[in-house]
């Protein structure tokens, strides 16, 4: 594929006049709503129906997870500032914010690793009880999404370091940003449903 073909593909617009890649990302995010919706449904339906421990109240730490939640929210701010910088052609700030976003994402993932390790040491596993099965599947899939986002953003950061991410490529950053903000918005829901509503019977 020639460079001209690549550029034409990158800047392809649908008949609505909107970028096809952005349209595709929104359709994908729509499908992800259904995906996480089914996992949240499963978690809520089985919530409070464990026949043996450990139970959510024995393990879930709201103060600890509040910190990682704050970190993920701030990574969303860094992401939107990275997009703003690339749209304005500010290469230095694009590099700074494109590094800070996955960096904060990695801190969030580190928190999840610590939490999972603590739960495993306390006897919780995928097959231990309904809480273990639904909790690990739901937060595990979210963590996998964060991991994909971190890798994606790091590739954009490397591109920016090599001077290959100018304002003409802002759509690439915007699409990665949409994915990252969606991952953040899913956590907004999970934080409430899993941690803050842990004592609520469904």
């Amino acid at each position: 594929m020639s460079q001209g073909d690549t550029a034409a593909l990158e800047h392809h617009y649908t008949t609505t006049g909107l970028p096809s890649r952005k349209m595709l990302m929104w359709a994908f995010i729509g499908s992800e709503c259904m995906f996480f919706g089914s996992l949240i449904t499963t978690y809520l339906v089985y919530h409070g129906r464990n026949l043996q421990g450990p139970y959510p109240a024995d393990l879930l730490s709201v103060p600890f997870i509040s910190v990682t939640t704050f970190v993920l929210l701030m990574s969303s701010l860094m992401m939107v500032l990275a997009l703003s910088a690339v749209q304005r052609g500010q290469k230095k700030w694009t590099r700074v914010f494109l590094f800070l976003t996955p960096f904060l994402g990695m801190i969030f993932l580190g928190g999840q690793v610590i939490e999972f390790t603590h739960f495993a040491e306390s006897g919780l596993s995928l097959s231990r009880n309904l809480f273990g099965s639904t909790f690990f599947v739901l937060t595990g899939f979210h963590g996998a999404h964060v991991t994909v986002g971190v890798i994606w953003l790091l590739t954009l950061w490397v591109q920016s370091l090599r001077g290959k991410l100018g304002s003409e490529h802002s759509l690439s950053v915007e699409i990665a940003g949409l994915y990252w903000h969606f991952v953040d918005v899913v956590w907004v829901v999970l934080f409430t449903v899993i941690y803050l509503m842990q004592g609520v019977k469904t």
């Binding site: 729509g30 919706g37 129906r49 709201v62 939107v80 907004v188 829901v189």
Partner: protein, 107 residues
């Protein structure tokens, strides 16, 4: 997006950086409120409605400002809100379906 920007294949900033920082500050305050409410014994009877309102506010702020649905074409809102309504309906209907299902024991 202007026609010129569209022709060049790049988008323009949707809002100012000050707006983004302001939204992030509100998100941080809402998160702190959520945690505070969780630990307040006097709020426990109305904990769920309060948490759901705060969660919805945070969700809307991120989607409208950080994901730019407030500024972008309506078709993107349709692509997102449509499946979101279906997913929410499934969650609510399944909870009501299973609310009276109680196996022996459990916590």
């Amino acid at each position: 997006m202007s026609e010129q920007a569209a022709a060049a294949g790049h988008s323009e900033p949707h809002a100012s950086n000050r707006t983004y920082v302001g939204v992030a500050a509100v998100l941080a305050v809402l998160t702190a409120l959520e945690v505070m409410v969780f630990f307040l014994p006097s709020v426990q009877p109305v904990l769920v409605p309060i948490l759901l309102v705060l969660m919805a506010a945070k969700f809307a702020l991120v989607v409208m400002f950080f994901m730019h649905l407030k500024f972008d074409a309506n078709i993107f809102s349709g692509l997102f809100v449509g499946p979101l309504i279906i997913a929410s309906a499934i969650i609510i209907s399944m909870i009501f379906l299973y609310i009276n299902y109680a196996p022996s024991g459990g916590s």
